[in-house]
Amino acid sequence: MNDPIAALRAQLLRTAGQEAEQVRSQAENEAAGRVAAARRQAGELLAAARAEGLAQAAADDKAERIKVQREARRLILAARREALEELRSHAAAAVSRLRDDQRLLRRLRDLVGDRLGAGHTLTAHPGGGIVGQAPGRRVDASLPTLAARAVDEMAAEVEQLWRE
């Protein structure tokens, strides 16, 4: 016998099936979208983490290079300073051998006298050489002072100590 609601049932079933298909398809699309978004996000996170790691590594590397360069530079400059100090002490030692040179002392007395004019007094410096004084004025022609100034005035020649 004919089922009077068979057609209706079939139609409902079809509609339900279509709706279910639509929902499933939507769910699949949504799931695919979410998975893709999650993958994209994961990729971005990974890339960001990688970039951050690289940047950090580069920063650490740079910091380390700066530290090493600074230390190397410090050692070089300290060695140059020592070379200069050694030159100064050699100059002071060399000049101290002239302390009894009467010609030099006479020359210094004349030079000091010229600078100070009349009424000056001269005193022997314990390190050699002389110091002249007049009211309000003074001339230091002691050998240690002259040796130190001579090194200062050698200027570019001093740099040859570490340039060659």
């Binding site: 740079k62 360069q69 600074r70 410090r74 400059l77 300290a78 000091v112 002259l146 100034r149 005035e153």
Partner: protein, 454 residues
């Protein structure tokens, strides 16, 4: 070599000492002051009247006794040894070593005040100095021999940017050096500048002069002069392209004001001396190029505008002299916070284009600035009518402004961008707009570089 010393100080007042009984002493002469303790200080002659000389002691007069102090005059204003020995050195604001090395010697000396250069020997600035900072290289390109100021305000990272520029700048493979004159810096700032510039220093391309906030103010007045004297020799005698960064010029001007007050001069605007303009010009005008010499001296003074006031005498007078400015904005929440629309390099045309940077450089910079200007107008309009009411073109310009901030302007403090990378980013930014909106760019450039769809 035999030096006459004066031993009668008739008065000591603040940083000033009056030496009596002097003869043949001149104004601005440099003086060495030896204390009974063995300590040595330095000074400058401010005034001479008959046998009296007024000396400003750089380190102050505390501890000096009138009858046991000796003053020797050099016979000339301060002279600075010049030569390659400065490269790689870190010194204080007067050129004394801070790096543990010996004093800097030179084959010759030059007056710290500099020689006035015959104007007819000057050659107009040309060719770029590339900083590796995209916004500057693209929009306000530094030109060799130019003076361009960096205007900032308190709290902004101007020092960081100045150090970055000093660390990265180059002249495309030609010999290049940087002289960084830091004035009135705190110890922390000085340490960060040293860190940023360490590798350049180690490479023997940098001279760093550090005048700290607690150093004598008159030393601060000397610092830029010493820096420029050293730089002039490197540029015009040794043929190097030299970038001189002077930060912070506001500190320098405050020191000048203090010295002027100590001299009893009549104060002018905001108590700065009336000669502030000519004093600044005497520094800024020492940059340039000289006919027949291969080197150049480019000047980047950095100044903080007190309370952000661009009409303050220091930025105001600086703006009259310099050939452009890079302005940092407190509104920009990014690094470097350069306000592209307020920044300008007046000589940029001489430094960019075919054979220098890229053929389309001027057009691309103009197009970017025009688009940013329209984006600013659109942004203001959007605040009134809402973004939804804007035209598609205006919304496109807002997108471009965002892309500019994200892709071009924002840059790490240790990130050096090549010119190619900067142009690549700039084309990505302008390609946010439809091609028809890019009317300032030539068809050839658009065909080669425009990216359809942004």
């Amino acid at each position: 070599m035999i030096e006459l010393e004066y031993t009668s100080l008739s008065e000591l007042r603040g940083p000033l000492a009056v030496v009596s009984g002097v003869s043949k002493v001149g104004w601005d002469e440099f003086a060495t002051i030896r204390l009974s303790s063995g300590e040595t200080r330095h000074g400058l002659v401010l005034e001479v009247d008959r046998d009296l000389a007024l000396v400003q002691v750089l380190e102050g007069t505390s501890g000096m006794a009138g009858d046991r102090t000796r003053v020797a005059f050099a016979g000339s204003p301060l002279r600075v040894p010049v030569g390659p020995g400065w490269l790689g050195r870190v010194c204080d604001g007067r050129g004394r070593p801070l790096d543990g090395g010996p004093a800097v010697f030179g084959a010759s000396t030059a007056p710290a005040a500099g020689f006035p250069l015959n104007p007819t020997w000057r050659v107009p600035p040309a060719e770029p100095v590339l900083t590796g900072v995209s916004a500057i290289d693209l929009l306000t390109t530094l030109v060799r021999g130019q003076k361009i100021a960096l205007f900032s305000a308190a709290g902004l990272p101007h020092l960081e940017l100045a150090a970055q520029i000093a660390a990265q700048s180059h002249a495309g493979g030609e010999p290049f050096s940087v002289v960084f004159a830091a004035m009135g810096l705190t110890h922390a700032d000085a340490a960060s500048v040293r860190d940023a510039l360490e590798l350049r220093s180690a490479a023997g391309e940098l001279v760093l002069l550090l005048n700290l906030a607690d150093d004598p103010v008159i030393e601060r007045v000397l610092t830029p002069r010493i820096a420029l004297t050293v730089a002039e020799h490197l540029a015009f005698e040794m043929g190097r392209h030299v970038l001189v960064v002077m930060a912070d010029m506001t500190s320098y001007c405050e020191a000048l004001r203090e010295v002027s007050a100590a001299r009893g001069e009549i104060p002018a605007r905001r108590a700065y001396p009336g000669y502030l303009y000519s004093d600044l010009a005497s520094l800024y005008e020492r940059c340039g190029r000289v006919r027949g010499r291969p080197g150049s001296l480019t000047l980047l003074p950095v100044l903080t505008m007190p309370a952000g006031d661009i009409t303050h005498p220091v930025p105001d007078l600086t703006g009259y002299i310099t050939e452009g400015q890079i302005v940092l904005s407190p509104q920009a929440d990014l690094y470097p916070p350069i306000d592209a629309l307020s920044s300008l390099s007046r000589l940029m045309r001489r430094g960019v284009g075919e054979g220098r940077t890229r053929p389309e450089h001027m057009d691309l910079a103009a197009q970017t600035l025009a688009a940013l200007a329209r984006a600013r107008q659109a942004g203001e309009l959007a605040e009134i009518v809402g973004a939804g009411a804007l035209s598609a073109t205006d919304r496109g310009h807002l997108d471009l402004a965002r892309a500019f901030a994200t892709h071009l302007l924002t840059q790490r403090a240790d990130e050096e961008r090549t010119l190619e990378e900067t142009f690549d980013r700039a084309w990505r930014v302008v390609s946010v707009l439809p091609r028809r909106e890019l009317a300032m760019l030539g068809e050839d450039a658009l065909d080669a570089c425009y990216r359809e769809g942004g």
